[in-house]
Assembly symmetry: C2
Homo-oligomer: 237 residues x 2
């Protein structure tokens, strides 16, 4: 699957045998990838539907796919949620989304922690980054992005293994963690969670884990922690 050009369609696309590419995708196909009519391409809707078909230029700015093959892919398991405090450094949120989606994070939840400089604000770039990663990696489920004012509720209602990246003495390594069901990891902002926040999140069910002896920027800690949890749960096999 990996060397085919991949295009993304909205999840509400109707499949009547011919799929019209959205403007941006058509532009990319015609002007950047310079696809020729007849070339086999792959299309995914980010919610499990995948098509193979023949690319066809339909005018200067339009392009369609003649569907040849359809498939539906089940959502990846385990699901992996990152609950991350809003970060203020430019690019940190984008790096988090890109790197997290690459390794298999399926849901990003942002909130304002005590030491976040401002509340999270959804950026149009975010979804484009996730689409880009899914195209590249061959993932057919687009990760979800949510903003919340109540991270405690999200952790308390999580079925599976919930953790918090913490520098507290009782934090254990991921390698000795019993992992079941879906995964969740909470990560603090620059300057980390306050002791009260750690207590509240732990109280809600998040198990403190350590990532080792070194200090990581929040977005690096989040991706590293998610990678270790996913590895522990048998992903990457």
């Amino acid at each position: 699957m990996s060397h085919l050009h991949r295009f993304h369609l909205p999840p509400d696309t109707t499949d009547a045998g011919i799929l019209a590419l959205p403007e941006g995708e058509a532009h990319h196909a015609l002007r950047v990838a310079r696809l020729k009519s007849g070339e086999t391409v792959e299309v995914f809707d980010g919610a499990g539907r995948v098509w193979r078909g023949a690319f066809e230029a339909a005018g200067k700015h339009e392009a369609v796919i003649q569907v040849v093959e359809r498939a539906f892919e089940e959502p990846p398991t385990p699901r992996c949620t990152l609950v991350v405090a809003a970060l203020h450094r430019p690019g940190a949120m984008e790096e988090l989304l890109r790197r997290g989606a690459e390794v298999g994070v399926t849901r990003f939840v942002f909130f304002r922690a005590r030491r976040s400089e401002r509340p999270p604000r959804r950026d149009g770039k975010w979804e484009r980054i996730l689409v880009e990663v899914c195209k590249q990696c061959g993932r057919n489920w687009l990760p979800r992005i949510e903003l919340t004012e109540d991270p405690i509720r999200i952790i308390a209602s999580h079925a599976g293994t919930a953790c918090i990246a913490a520098m507290t003495p009782e934090a254990g390594p991921v390698s000795s963690l019993e992992v079941t069901g879906d995964l969740l990891l909470a990560v603090g902002p620059e300057g980390d969670f306050t002791a009260e926040e750690v207590a509240a999140l732990t109280e809600a069910g998040a198990v403190p884990i350590t990532l080792g002896a070194y200090t990581y920027r929040s977005e690096v800690a989040a991706v590293l922690g998610a990678t270790l949890l996913l590895q522990r749960a048998g992903a990457f096999a």
Copy 2:
């Protein structure tokens, strides 16, 4: 250790109780971090020596550290070498160095693979990136960077676990790999290794491993693979 300002000195620095900061570090201390005389800072030479001391401005452009405390840190174990084909995309080598050093890669070896567009060429930025990461993470050993024309020799002479990220059917997951001693992972360029290269590297002792069902850019595969091997070897505890 994590909230102290950290500065880097060359490994041939003589310690006579006062350490003069190199020009770039002095500039950063005086103009960017705006440190005040008397503030406690940390200094490392990238080869295990670490100092704590009092910062002192010594003129407009010079700064020194009055040493209060000295330590020597043993090199990290296991060592982890990435043997990576030269990548041609701008920024890919830098991303590899940054992300690799963050998770604990201790040595980067670059070579020209059959599908590398050009031979690797050392860039002055590379060491600055590694210094930056070590300052941030609290690592006191600077990773090494080598260029080679003979990756086979490096793999054949490796004592420990050597792997190659490969899409071959016999590639197994890292989670079922027996890991001993130092780690090494070979990763191909854009377009991957040729079958002949995989055969030669495997013949030299590299065990084929898979990173799962998805397709990663070379620099992402290298960092993900190194992370999984380091996790398997008990790092991050």
